[in-house]
Symmetry: C2
Subunit: 247 residues, 2 copies
DNA sequence: TAGTGGTCTAGACCACTTA
DNA sequence: AAGTGGTCTAGACCACTAG
């Protein structure tokens, strides 16, 4: 019989048992003890080996599964996966500061009602020609244009939420951590593009200069698309970064 | 007294209790019941409200914390965070197929020993002028160039690991799921760039065309940089995507 | 049927913060 | 001192997969 305080001391310093187990298993995978595709010892065996309860082993395996290092198949076992670069999780950074601080200046360039063209209608899942709200913004830092934002927002007269949605989809709402609204669902796509004439001028960059294009669809809680749009981010100012490996 | 089978039935269908709890809490955050910055009910209160044990509540909170929707501060409480786009986790997709399948062709364009210049020396944390391995590869799909890869690998005569490292950092090792080796540590940075003359020609794109530049540093288990390099990905073929919100 | 992963309990002790 | 999150136990039952 072991009690909690014994176990806490068991690994060595203050590192939790589940972290220690996960690290040990990861090390065995990278060192070749558990080659990619091979089956790891079962939960019960790991309990015995590490002298911990099932819950603790499960949490360690859960960590590895979240990070994609391992895949568990019910009734079969837990298997080592090889690392796949395409599974890396990137985080979008703004170089040289926070996304939105006091030096950020958001200018609303356009706010109008227009009829949805083919593209807009498709993304917002409405009929072509339906009225939608069209917004265009420019975000500058210290007077330097850094990104533009073009957005089309659903306008449904039967549920007059435009006011709330305008706020919902305002830059502040998802760039500023202090906002009260947030999105419940949606997706993002990020690609590299050449700036067209118009955007290049707006961002004070050369025509054809590279930019990151971050496209978004934000959905209502029921899955209805509410907003479609994209940011154009000056390439020198933004990047995505990811860390590989242990913690 | 409730036993496990009662609880499993409690939520409704087969959804685990911790998922149900996490979803409920997320809904309350988006609906404004728990505004950004506010404190969520404590673990013990949630146990009472949902009629589950502490471990189950903790797992639900853990999920929300992993997704960045919530931040837990020991001794204070768990607080709702507003969603921050910059925290989105992107996944790199290859449009139109798998990263590496039978149609992929990897050509080694260059493999030589060179002296580390300023840049290389800095990234690999060696002295300028030290010998390093220089590799350059081109990956094509169905005969179409899709990405190039330039890489500098540490060459330390005192520990002759070059052979193993070559394999470690080979394309197969991190693009092909069947490999046995994997990286233990490192980081990635992704930006948009204009292709220079050389790269444009190699990728059969126009000079100045946009591309994604995926820079990497792979480290040994002890943190020593082993490989520095970058991929240039034709912009039309790759993108990053992320899903927001619930599952 | 035996073994696997997946979930859950009803407690416990610890480290930490606030008052 | 009271309340918080963080960790852990020693069992349990379930769903699934295999032989």
């Amino acid at each position: 019989m072991v009690d909690a305080s014994d176990v806490a001391r068991a690994s060595d310093q203050g590192t939790p048992a589940y972290v220690h187990i996960a690290q040990t298993l990861e090390q065995r995978m990278t060192s070749g003890d558990y080659p990619a595709g091979s089956r790891l010892p079962s939960g019960s065996r790991l309990c015995i080996e590490f002298g911990v309860s099932p819950m603790t082993v499960r949490r360690a395996l859960h960590m590895l599964e979240d990070r994609g290092l391992v895949i568990a198949r019910q009734g079969q076992g837990t298997f080592a996966r090889s690392f796949d670069l395409s599974d890396s999780l990137f985080r979008l950074d703004f170089r040289g500061g926070e996304w939105l601080d006091e030096s950020a200046d958001i200018r609303l360039l356009e706010a109008s009602m227009t009829r949805a063209d083919d593209n807009v209608a498709h993304r917002l899942e409405v009929e072509q020609g339906q009225m939608v709200v069209h917004l265009r913004r420019l975000v500058s830092y210290d007077g330097d244009p850094a990104m533009s934002h073009t957005e089309y927002i659903l306008y449904d007269p039967r549920r007059p939420l435009v006011e709330a949605q305008l706020q919902l989809t305002s830059l502040n709402a998802f760039l500023d951590s202090g906002g009260t609204h947030r999105f419940s669902r949606g997706f993002l796509h990020l690609t590299a593009v050449d700036l067209d004439n118009d955007s290049a001028e707006l961002l004070q960059a050369a025509e054809g200069a590279s930019a990151l294009r971050l496209e978004h669809v934000f959905q209502d809680t029921d899955g209805t698309p509410v907003s479609w749009g994209w940011f154009l981010l000056r390439a020198e100012l933004f990047r995505l970064s990811a860390r590989l490996g242990s913690l």
